[in-house]
Symmetry: C2
């Protein structure tokens, strides 16, 4: 057995060298394609499509007050990173934009709901969000609670009702995934552990990672995974993209922690330095600023490794989104 | 044409008389079957099944605090009218209990969520619910908001993930229906108009009906309609049961208004006389107590008329549920 293996070695080595040459050439080609990808134009175009779709999805009908409150926060001009991730993942596995759009909007509705409830006086008690007064400051606490509830319910209605060109079984799989990512084992789990950790002096790295993986990464994971499901991705593709999303999700929060201590409120469009004031555990606090930056780069690299097996042109938006999340300034 | 019609008349009359006799006999038989239906035993048995299913659906996992808060309100021993309506509607159109159970649980999760959020200090500011301290009194406002959010999300996860023996297309139809019934055109619409009406002196009957049809009837309608959808009901059957549910939904609230002025807090298991204190528009206030009771009876009759075309034995639970909602004491 050993001899056979040895006998095969020269040939194997030759093949390996040829293989490495092919991989290197392909990587260079991919880098060229990546470089030729116009990320700004892509984000602008997709962001406009998403904004239009959100505007059409939640119209100003009766009772006006609640729809006004929902639209106020939903159309406040966020970066639409989550819906764009959803669409990009759908297109990467061979689906098209329209298959993912209702779910992409649903993810943004849920993200908005979580911000409205998170800003409430009984939660983070925030007055400023995306550079504007928070929902409860404008509409009152009671309407803000209900606007969040309505957005959460409507997200599922819209996903179930407006998705076309996808088999009902895949829509159900996507609904299950999204609901799990935002419930007591996802987003809400992160929020509740975050609340319970406030003021604790012994919050370690593992504990902090639990909060971030749930509070921030879960919904980004949901966005990518439901895009891949709706686009017709294989189980293997969906799981690779899940791993990609987990990395960029954690990356998103590590960068958020870094920005909180390095930028001003004006630059961020929300209150800066809040983590320091609240004495919250953050990556810069636990690792130091430089190590936190190194950790962010490691996550960025790990995320991009998951995209290696996909077509480079189609994967360019996700490569660029990881880069953007790693190096964003607000 | 006239002659032909006249010529047919005697025969038609005879057939009509025979038909009336058959209908009368059938009605008498139905009344007997209704009378032989043991409602108390039915409610006890189905209620136990629902409680067991809810207990299994939301277990005490990590993070414990949020699951504890969810279970505290979900398992506080309500009457389970909504899930039982869902199961009864499913069985009436030919489905079985297991097809409806995950959705029946989902309806109760959503009902519980609406109670938790409704009791918050920024909403109704209630200290007592189902004879126990309200969720935020035990777990704090922040955890109560999140427990509601988690129950809302989990309702859809459970419905999408745990329903078996039903086609994915019907599950999606049921999810769409339920989400619509609880969002800004359903339950939330009723809540927000209710909030905005507090203290107004010119709330008329139409306005009051809008609040009740949305705040209370929408979720009861959802329970019945999704049961009928999941059980394989025809479009005609689903719409008849929708009308039935709208009547008993409004009936439920009219009776609630009546109980608020006629019963004590101890009898109700929640604060009585609140509507009077808050000077809220109610049916007894707008119609007087006797006329409000007459209106309740009218709705009860209209509801039961919708069941006329169904098999009497299978319809017995819904007949009895309408009677129960009309004549309940708490």
């Amino acid at each position: 057995m050993k001899a056979v293996k040895q006998g095969l070695l020269p040939c194997f080595n030759l093949l390996q060298l040829q293989g490495e040459k092919i991989i290197k050439e392909a990587e260079e080609e991919n880098t060229q394609k990546e470089m030729s990808f116009d990320f700004k134009a892509y984000m602008l175009q997709k962001g406009n499509f998403v904004n239009q779709a959100l505007d059409n999805a939640v119209t100003l009908k009766e009772p006006q007050k609640i729809h006004e409150a929902m639209r106020y926060s939903l159309l406040a001009g966020g970066k639409r990173v989550r819906p764009i991730l959803c669409i990009a993942a759908c297109e990467l596995v061979g689906g098209n934009e329209s298959m993912a759009m209702p779910s992409a909007c649903a993810v943004e509705m849920i993200h908005t709901m979580s911000l409205i409830h998170d800003d409430l006086p009984c939660m983070d008690n925030d007055d400023l969000r995306r550079g504007k007064p928070t929902n409860h400051k404008v509409f009152g606490e009671n309407v803000a609670v209900l606007a969040g509830d309505a957005l959460l319910a409507f997200a599922f209605e819209y996903m179930a009702n407006a998705t076309v060109g996808v088999s009902p079984a895949r829509v159900i799989q996507a609904i299950t995934e999204l609901a799990k990512d935002i419930g007591a084992e996802g987003l809400v789990a992160g929020q509740v552990v975050d609340i319970l950790s406030a003021g604790l002096s012994d919050v370690g790295l593992e504990h902090l990672e639990f909060i971030h993986v749930h509070k921030t990464a879960a919904l980004l994971e949901g966005a990518v995974v439901i895009g891949a499901i709706l686009g017709g991705g294989t189980e293997e593709q969906v799981e690779k993209l899940r791993k990609f999303a987990r990395c960029i999700g954690l990356l998103f929060q590590v960068v958020d922690d870094i920005l909180d201590v390095t930028m001003s409120s004006q630059e961020l469009g929300k209150t800066a330095g809040k983590d320091l004031v609240a004495d919250k555990a953050t990556y810069p606090k636990l690792l130091g600023l430089e190590k936190a930056r190194e950790f962010a780069e490691k996550l960025n690299t790990e995320a991009k490794e998951q995209l290696a097996g996909f077509d480079a042109v189609k994967a360019a938006p996700l490569y660029a989104l990881a880069e953007y999340i790693a190096h964003r300034q607000n």
